[in-house]
C-alpha cells in the first residue's frame, strides 16, 4: 500500500516536473535569466578580485561559488513560483487530485536542475578566472557531488518557503529573509566540502556524507510541512479555524484565506 503510494507520488512528481521543464524549454526564460545572472556575478568576481594572490585563491573561491549559488538560487526560486502566480495556476495545482508532496518534489527538482546548470557555468568559470584555487588533480566527481548535494539542501528549504510566499501573495523580498538563515548550515558545509575537494583532501567524502544526511532531513521536513503550510492542516473540533492573519494585521475568525483578503489596512 505504502509502496504503491510512493510509486504514485514519484510518478506524479515526474509528470509535474516534466510539465514545468517542457514550459521552460519553450522559452528558456528561467535558464537564460539564471545563467546570465551567474555570468554577471562571475564577471564581477573577475573584475573585483583580479589581483588576488595565489595563496588566497583556495580559501576565497569556495566562498565565491556558494555566495553566487545562494543568490542565483533565490532568483530561481522566485521565478519558478512567479510563473504559477502570474498564470494564477498554483491554486488549481493544489486543488488537483495530486499528492502535495509530488508538487513539492517537482518544484524542488526543477530548481535543483537550474542550479546545477548554473553551477556548470560557475565552477569552470571560477577555475579559469582563478587558476590557483585548486591543487593539481582535484576530483571532478567529488566536485559534482558537492555541488549537487549543496544545491539540493538549498532547494529543499527554498522550495517550501518560495511556494508559501507565492501561494499566499507574500512579498518576494521575504524569501531572502527566510532563505539565508535556514540554508546557512548547508551552505557552510558545502563550502568546507568544496575547499576539501579543491585541495584533494582525503576527508572530502566524510563531509559530503554529512551534507547528504542534512539534505535528507531538510527534504523530509520540507515535504512534511509543504501541505500544512500551503493548504493548512485538518481543523479539529469547534476550536479549529484557520489562524491566518491578514496583511494588515487583522484576523479572520475562521475564514481561511478569505478573511485576510477581506481586510486591509484601510479597513481597520
Amino acid at each position: 500500500m505504502l509502496q504503491n503510494a510512493s510509486v504514485t507520488a514519484l510518478r506524479q512528481t515526474w509528470i509535474l516536473a516534466r510539465n514545468d521543464l517542457r514550459q521552460e524549454l519553450r522559452e528558456l526564460e528561467l535558464l537564460i535569466t539564471s545563467v546570465f545572472f551567474t555570468v554577471v556575478i562571475l564577471a564581477l568576481y573577475a573584475v573585483s578580485f583580479a589581483e588576488m594572490s595565489k595563496s588566497a585563491q583556495p580559501k576565497a573561491v569556495p566562498g565565491m561559488l556558494w555566495i553566487a549559488l545562494a543568490f542565483v538560487g533565490a532568483l530561481t526560486l522566485t521565478r519558478v513560483f512567479e510563473r504559477e502566480r502570474e498564470a494564477d495556476t498554483f491554486g488549481a495545482l493544489l486543488a488537483a487530485p495530486v499528492n502535495r508532496v509530488a508538487i513539492y518534489g517537482a518544484k524542488f527538482s526543477v530548481t535543483l536542475l537550474v542550479l546545477c546548470v548554473c553551477s556548470a557555468v560557475l565552477v569552470p568559470g571560477l577555475m579559469v578566472v582563478f587558476p590557483s584555487s585548486g591543487v593539481e588533480g582535484w576530483s571532478a566527481l567529488e566536485m559534482l557531488a558537492t555541488v549537487l548535494l549543496g544545491c539540493a539542501g538549498f532547494a529543499a528549504v527554498g522550495t517550501l518557503f518560495a511556494a508559501g510566499l507565492a501561494h499566499g501573495g507574500g512579498k518576494n523580498v521575504l524569501l531572502s529573509v527566510v532563505l539565508y538563515p535556514l540554508t546557512t548550515p548547508v551552505l557552510m558545509m558545502s563550502l568546507v566540502a568544496t575547499q576539501r575537494v579543491l585541495q584533494a583532501h582525503p576527508g572530502a567524502w566524510d563531509i559530503l556524507a554529512k551534507i547528504a544526511a542534512v539534505d535528507v532531513i531538510l527534504l523530509i521536513v520540507g515535504g512534511a510541512l509543504f501541505e500544512s503550510v500551503l493548504v493548512g492542516g485538518a481543523a479539529r473540533g469547534s476550536g479549529g479555524g484557520d489562524s491566518s492573519r491578514g496583511a494588515g494585521g487583522a484576523r479572520a475568525p475562521r475564514g481561511g484565506e478569505v478573511g485576510p483578503n477581506m481586510l486591509g489596512d484601510d479597513s481597520r
Partner: protein
C-alpha cells in the same frame, strides 16, 4: 500572593518575583561568589549569559512545538503560544549573543570566532528574527510560513546543544556547568530564576495581548458583518436611499 495575583495577574506575579530575585542575584554574584581563578572578574557574566542561553533554547523549543500543533491542528491558541515564545526567544537570543561576545572578548581576546556553538546560536537568533519579520509582513499566509520557520528553528536547538560534543570548540563544554562548585551554583540559581521568571512574564503578557487582539478582530468582523447586512424591512433597491 493571591491578592497580588488578583491585582496584576500571573505575569505581574512573575515580574514582581523577578524584581525581588534579581537584586538578590546581583549581590550574590558580585559580593558572595569567589572570583574564578583563570578568567577573573569577567567570569561573572556567566551567571547572566547561561540563563539567557538556556532560556533561548527553551523558548525556541516551545515555539517549535506550538508551531507544529498550529500547522497540524490549525490551532489559534498554538499560534499565539508560538508567536509569543518566538518573540521572547529573539529577545533572549540578543542577550545571550551580546553577553557571550563581551565574555569572549574578555577571555578569548575576540568577541566572535567561527566556533560551532556561536554560529549555531547566531543562526537560531536569525531564524527567529526572520520568524518575526515573516509573521508581520508575510501576507495572508504569514502565520503558517512563520510556523514552518519556527519548526526549523526548533531543529537547531539539539544541534546547538550537541555542537560542543560533535565539533572541536572554544566554547566551554556542557560538563563545565555540572562541575561548578556549590557557591557558584548558589549564585547561578537566583540568576536563572530571575531571568526565566521575567521571560515567562513577558511570554504570558504577549500571549494575553495576542488573545485580546484576536477577540477584538472577531468583534470587529462581527460588527462589520452586521453593518453590511441589509436591514430586514427596506424598500426595493434604488428607493432605499
Amino acid at each position: 500572593m493571591s491578592a497580588l495575583s488578583r491585582s496584576f495577574g500571573r505575569p505581574g506575579v512573575l515580574l514582581c518575583t523577578a524584581l525581588v530575585t534579581f537584586p538578590y542575584a546581583l549581590q550574590r554574584v558580585f559580593l558572595h561568589t569567589p572570583i574564578e581563578s583563570e578568567m577573573g572578574t569577567a567570569q561573572k557574566i556567566f551567571y547572566f549569559h547561561l540563563p539567557m542561553a538556556w532560556g533561548l533554547m527553551l523558548f525556541a523549543m516551545i515555539s517549535g512545538v506550538a508551531a507544529v500543533l498550529q500547522l497540524l491542528r490549525r490551532s489559534e491558541r498554538a499560534e499565539d503560544v508560538a508567536k509569543a515564545a518566538g518573540e521572547v526567544c529573539a529577545l533572549l537570543g540578543i542577550g545571550a549573543l551580546m553577553s557571550g561576545a563581551i565574555w569572549g572578548d574578555a577571555t578569548w581576546g575576540t568577541p566572535w570566532t567561527g566556533d560551532a556553538r556561536l554560529v549555531t546560536t547566531a543562526l537560531l537568533e536569525l531564524v527567529f528574527i526572520a520568524y518575526l519579520i515573516v509573521a508581520k509582513f508575510g501576507g495572508p499566509m504569514a502565520a503558517r510560513l512563520a510556523a514552518a520557520l519556527a519548526v526549523f528553528g526548533a531543529l537547531d536547538v539539539p544541534i546547538i546543544y550537541y555542537s560542543v560534543k560533535i565539533w572541536k570548540t572554544t566554547h566551554p563544554k556542557a560538563q563545565v556547568v555540572q562541575s561548578l562548585p556549590p557557591e557558584m551554583w548558589a549564585s547561578l540559581w537566583p540568576c536563572l530564576f530571575a531571568i526565566l521568571a521575567c521571560s515567562f512574564a513577558l511570554f504570558e503578557l504577549r500571549l494575553r495581548q495576542e488573545r485580546v487582539g484576536r477577540r477584538l478582530d472577531e468583534a470587529w468582523l462581527a460588527l462589520s458583518a452586521s453593518d453590511v447586512a441589509p436591514p430586514e424591512h427596506t424598500a426595493p433597491s434604488g428607493r432605499s436611499a
